[in-house]
């Protein structure tokens, strides 16, 4: 009962319920192949959701992630098309992600402009560069080893991107919940002014988070390119909203300061299982989107209702 009182406990119960219903509805749901497909279809988003958890707990937002994914993927595709070795192109694409993150950080931390504004602008700008680079036509024909990384199993049937997600999830959990850096992320997110007066290196923490967001997004863009074996200007377009939805559903407050990595990971599993279950039941895209929207509203409402309820009970007593 106490476990249910925490947000994570509630999410866990919901997750079990969704898995049970899906398994009941479709004999395919629990097969290894389908479970891998379920993760693979969204693996780039869920990797970025891990770093987005840091961003939002820190009291900021990064809307440019999907455009960084697109820019890195298109830059990679363009370089390969020009005859560059794919290995070098991967490195340069990751460096571009670093620069994108640093650019965001420069304006947010350096000039003190709100991250909502800065990353809205770079969301448009980075996407524009991506479209210019590949001139809106698809590029494919990457080296076989690159496509294989996205499409073939690395450990047994489990592909590279899923292995990376598992490793990153553990790392993200440890950094956020078990290190001094993680505690600073919370403290700054809860009250920036107090954090600054306490002598915390607020700017350095924020800059690091935005740079990490850029690099991880670029990596996710490359993983996407490998999975689909092609890039074009609109690659990963609109992914930022799905990523932010997962993080908020995980109980991370949009105002910063609260939320946990395990909450985000549970929310990721819920969204994936729910989408996959609906797809196996042949429910169309419009309804799927609607269900996820309702889920997000509930996830924001439930804590508020609970808080009000607790307060009322306290008053009665």
């Amino acid at each position: 009962m106490t476990a249910l009182r925490s947000w994570e406990g509630l999410l866990f119960a919901v997750l079990i319920l969704i898995y049970a219903v899906n398994a009941w509805n479709s004999p395919v749901f629990l097969t290894v192949g389908n479970q891998i497909n379920m993760f693979q279809l969204s693996v780039e988003k869920i990797i970025v959701a891990l770093v987005m958890t840091f961003v939002i707990i820190n009291g900021e937002i990064d809307l440019s992630i999907a455009s960084v994914m697109g820019l890195a993927a298109c830059a990679f595709g363009w370089m390969v098309q020009q005859g560059a070795p794919a290995g070098g192109a991967v490195a340069i694409a990751l460096a571009i992600g670093f620069l994108c993150g640093a650019f965001n950080a420069l304006f947010i931390v350096g000039f003190g402009i709100p991250s909502l504004v800065v990353t809205l602008a770079t969301m448009i700008a980075f996407r524009g560069f991506a479209r210019v680079l590949v001139e809106d036509r698809g590029i494919s024909d990457f080296p076989d080893w690159f496509d294989a990384l996205g499409q073939k199993g690395l450990i047994g049937p489990v592909p590279l991107a899923m292995v990376l997600f598992a490793v990153f999830a553990v790392l993200a959990y440890l950094i956020l919940q078990r290190t001094a850096f993680g505690r600073k992320v919370y403290f700054i997110g809860a009250n920036r002014a107090v954090a600054e007066f306490s002598g915390l290196e607020v700017r350095a923490v924020k800059a690091r988070i935005f740079i990490a967001s850029g690099v991880i997004s670029a990596l996710a863009g490359l993983l996407f390119a490998a999975r689909v074996g092609a890039v074009r200007g609109d690659i990963a377009n609109g992914f930022e909203l799905d990523v932010i939805t997962m993080v908020l559903l995980g109980g991370v407050s949009i105002f910063g300061g609260t939320g946990t990595m395990s909450g985000t990971i549970l929310a990721i599993l819920i969204v994936l299982a729910l989408r996959n279950g609906m797809a196996l039941e042949n429910i169309t895209g419009h309804i799927q989107t609607g269900v996820l929207g309702i889920l997000l509203i509930l996830s924001v409402m439930v804590p508020i209702i609970r808080e009000t309820g607790t307060r009322l009970i306290a008053r009665v007593r």
Partner: protein, 345 residues
């Protein structure tokens, strides 16, 4: 244009004549094959019409399996198509009938579906590389669409002046092929005084296309025609010209649905446009898929089959995509004020 249609017909007749000897395969009704009709996205009339054709064939053949019509939302088209195709493989669907909007990005998912035993038959828009695709049911020969568009432009513009193309998405394989074919046709001496000044993209969304059409008029003061090889683009362009009172100056043509274009054709905003029947395309695609699923054909070049009321068809090499195979439906109709009303009902 008449000449072209006649020659296309003659070509088809010649092909079909040759096939008569090759013994067309006919379908055995009453088989069981679960099929998915996967459009680019939901909520567009031609795709619903294709579904109507597929449903007609489904009932006619007495398929005891299911026919599922499902698609992604427009904003999520690429990722959504990949997801639905992947899930269809997991579900063990016999065939996915795909109007591809994801370019080559869908090829790995199509190959995975094939490996899982799900055939992928494309229609309306193929997988550019042909990878993972069993066969493509082509509406009309891509080269002939180019000539028909060039000829409609010629007749509307009186053979001279500036015109522009308003297409769908920049990576839509079919639109790109048709525009390329039209540019090829325009090299002919007959079209020497016509100038294609720009190609813009309305993303197959009404509002975007509407604004792009108006932007074209602003950018090119001498523009005489907007040629839009997409049903969304042509309607939005015609509406934009009508709303702004520009129909006397700038005409609209391209590929459109009679039901959506009838008022613009009658009021002179879009005097001529062309199209094939999406109902027939869905019907033929379903027949092809059913024959593949029931093992009557394998998808090899040279196989001939009877597609119910539409007659005999043969699988051939796709001239536009080396290594890929197609079934050519063709021909198509040019609509003007004399015949549009009858089709628009």
């Amino acid at each position: 244009m008449k000449h072209l249609t006649v020659s296309t017909l003659a070509l088809c007749a010649a092909l079909f004549g040759a096939q008569a000897n090759a013994q067309a395969v006919t379908a055995d009704p009453g088989g069981k094959a679960d099929m998915v009709l996967l459009p680019k996205f939901l909520g567009i009339l031609p795709f619903d019409q294709a579904n109507r054709g597929a449903e007609e064939a489904h009932a006619e053949l007495g398929n005891t399996g299911t026919l599922l019509y499902t698609g992604p939302t427009p904003e999520n088209s690429v990722a959504g198509q990949i997801e639905i195709l992947t899930t269809a493989g997991s579900q063990g669907q016999a065939v996915v009938m795909l109007s591809n909007n994801a370019g080559d990005q869908i090829a790995p998912a199509a190959e995975a579906a094939q490996a899982a035993g799900t055939k992928v038959v494309t229609w309306d828009s193929p997988i550019p590389s042909g990878a993972g695709e069993t066969v493509f049911v082509a509406q009309v020969d891509f080269g002939s669409i180019g000539v028909v568009m060039a000829d409609m432009a010629y007749s509307i513009m009186g053979g001279e002046g500036e015109f522009a193309v308003l297409s769908a998405t920049p990576d839509a394989a079919n639109q790109n092929a048709w525009i390329a074919a039209m540019e090829e046709a325009l090299k002919g001496e007959k079209y020497a005084n016509m100038k294609l000044v720009d190609t813009v993209y309305g993303d197959d969304q009404s509002e975007v296309s509407y604004n792009r059409a108006l932007a074209l008029v602003d950018s090119y003061p001498n523009l005489k025609l907007i040629m839009s090889p997409t049903t969304v683009g042509i309607q939005a362009s015609a509406k934009a010209m009508q709303d702004e009172g520009l129909c006397d100056k700038v005409k609209v043509s391209g590929l459109g649905l009679p039901a959506e274009m009838v008022s613009y054709t009658l009021n002179g905003c879009a005097p001529e446009f062309a199209l094939w029947s999406f109902v027939d395309l869905g019907y033929l695609t379903y027949y092809t898929s059913y024959l593949l699923a029931t093992g009557k054909i394998t998808g090899a070049v040279g196989e001939t089959f009877t597609a119910g009321r539409m007659g005999d068809y043969t699988i051939e090499e796709d001239p536009g995509r080396p290594g890929a195979k197609r079934i050519l439906m063709g021909p198509f109709t040019v609509y003007d004020k004399d015949n549009v009303e009858a089709e628009a009902k």
